[in-house]
């Protein structure tokens, strides 16, 4: 049954308010939703009156599935949730299990994990930057962003054995040791990135058409951001201090020197600038770590069958889209009794209606671009 007929059935008749509004579907197959997001939009002419998201096209009930997976097996599922920050999701699950078992992760494993997290964050922001520009009509940045993303994928492929959903983190550390020429390739990537960084500003940030399309669009104030539960670059675009790596630092982030990017504009352009600056911060972190990766073993000794003691555990990490929280309620068995993934995309999407009311369709696409939505992250 096509959900939209529900809305048309009780569409306002002549004389009632809202008569003559155009109800159109953006999605589930739509070039700008980057996935199967279905928005039912009520339009009056070109201005948007209301947005009703209709989710669930890629719902695999990951939470129900995890209830029958052991603590080693459920980690690989999370890289299918927000596939652009696969490593960071796996890092959250590994940390929760280690927090439950009080396992001490060796220093080398922690540094490898942070290195791969930051590489994933850059790769995710690269793809976002290309897709964002394509949404606004410029096709060229997409291909240029994939040149950098491809170099990172080659690094991942060489060490972890996969390009997108790398299952490299295990409770207690990482699956294998680094590949011998990992450092060489990362240095090559840093050199390429430094050479090409000015192009991002020339082609997109500095472009007057781009600025007009993004400045003042999808404004959301600081209180609304907190009230809608938005985290990540969406929150930091409105000046809310919400970087989990700074608020409640995990792994070795408290020993690293990087600063949290905060913009006070609150509109699409501010969120855009936050992500571009975040890429620089990730580069800074990688540069600090790449030359002093400590020696030692890469995986702590863990028992064959992992059993989390009875109780509840919560661990949040900073993915490329915001705060991913893993909440495990354990009955002491080998599988979690109940698991809840607090995904950043779900709350960021709820703010879209508030942001874009009264804007044009072009604004909706611009605002959705800066929300950086990954639909499996929303539907889980």
């Amino acid at each position: 049954m096509y959900r939209e007929t529900e809305i048309i059935k009780d569409a306002p008749q002549f004389g009632e308010p809202g008569f003559g509004d155009l109800v159109i579907n953006v999605g589930p197959q739509h070039p700008a939703t980057h996935g199967v997001l279905h928005l039912i939009i009520t339009l009056n002419g070109e201005t948007i009156k209301d947005i009703k998201p209709n989710l669930g096209y890629i719902h695999r009930s990951i939470e129900k599935m995890c209830e029958s997976l052991t603590y080693r097996q459920f980690i690989y599922v999370t890289s299918r949730m927000d596939y652009l920050s696969a490593h960071i999701n796996n890092h959250a699950c590994a940390l929760v299990v280690e927090k439950g078992l009080q396992v001490e992760v060796p220093e080398r494993a922690q540094v490898i994990r942070v290195l791969f997290d930051e590489l994933t964050r850059i790769a995710s922001h690269e793809l976002w930057w290309g897709a964002m520009a394509m949404d606004l009509g410029a096709f060229t940045p997409f291909f240029h962003s994939f040149r950098e993303r491809e170099t990172i994928n080659v690094i991942m492929e060489e060490t972890c054995g996969a390009r997108l959903t790398m299952n490299y983190y295990v409770p207690g550390g990482v699956m294998w040791d680094l590949h011998p020429d990992f450092q060489k390739r990362v240095k090559e990537f840093l050199a390429l990135y430094k050479k090409k960084i000015h192009e991002y500003d020339e082609l997109v940030t500095g472009n007057i058409i781009f600025q007009n399309r993004m400045k003042g669009i999808g404004y959301i104030s600081a209180e609304d951001v907190i009230s809608y539960g938005c985290t990540g670059p969406v929150a930091r675009g409105s000046g809310v201090h919400s970087d989990v790596r700074k608020v409640s630092p995990y792994s070795i982030y408290n020993k690293l020197d990087f600063d949290e990017v905060l913009e006070t504009g609150g509109d699409s352009f501010a969120r855009y600038v936050v992500r571009i600056k975040e890429m620089h911060q990730s580069i800074k972190i990688i540069e600090q770590l790449i030359d002093n990766i400590p020696e030692g073993d890469f995986q702590a000794k863990t028992k064959a069958v992992l059993k989390l003691p009875k109780g509840e555990y919560y661990q949040s990490v900073e993915t490329a889209r915001g705060e991913l929280g893993v909440y495990i309620v354990s009955e002491g068995g080998t599988t979690p009794y109940r698991i809840k993934f607090r995904s950043p995309g779900f709350s960021n999407l709820s703010a879209l209606n508030h942001m874009i009311k009264g804007g044009k369709i072009g604004d909706l696409i611009a605002a959705m671009g800066t929300l950086d939505l990954v639909i499996p992250d929303i539907d889980r």
Binding site: F74, Y76, V154, E157, E158, G161, W176, H179, E202, I208
Partner: protein, 159 residues
Amino acid sequence: MFIKDYIKDIASALKSLATGMKMTGYYFTHHKEIITEQYPDNRDTLVLAERFKGEVVMPHDDNNEHACTGCTSCELACPNGSIKIITKFDVDAETGKRKKAIDTWIYHLDLCTMCGLCVEACPTNAIKMAPTFEHSVFDRNKLVKKLNEDGSKVRAGVE
């Protein structure tokens, strides 16, 4: 005054458009920047990372022996049930005792998500991940594979 910032506004707009054009113009003229990989043509020179997790395979040495003892720990480790081990009991020649051995190692390549947990869990390193990625077939049940060759036995001394 209005006219002054009207003109300044136009000038900065044109300058920003010009820098964008200059950059794309640079790429239009410099073909050495092209990054396209001609996949089907460069097949023989294509080098894949040797750790690439493409498909689970069971290496057999020249006299058709492998290292799988049929202990089914990989089947337990697999998150989505794409491994099915059928074991049989065959009588050991010298000691005459009945020993468990592998009969068929069924591998559902269509279900497998290449997570590598089975290779990690195998005590005797009998299976490993092969860097093959061309898995497309015309008939789906070609994707259900039997990893241990016919007539293969466990290598002696593998416990």
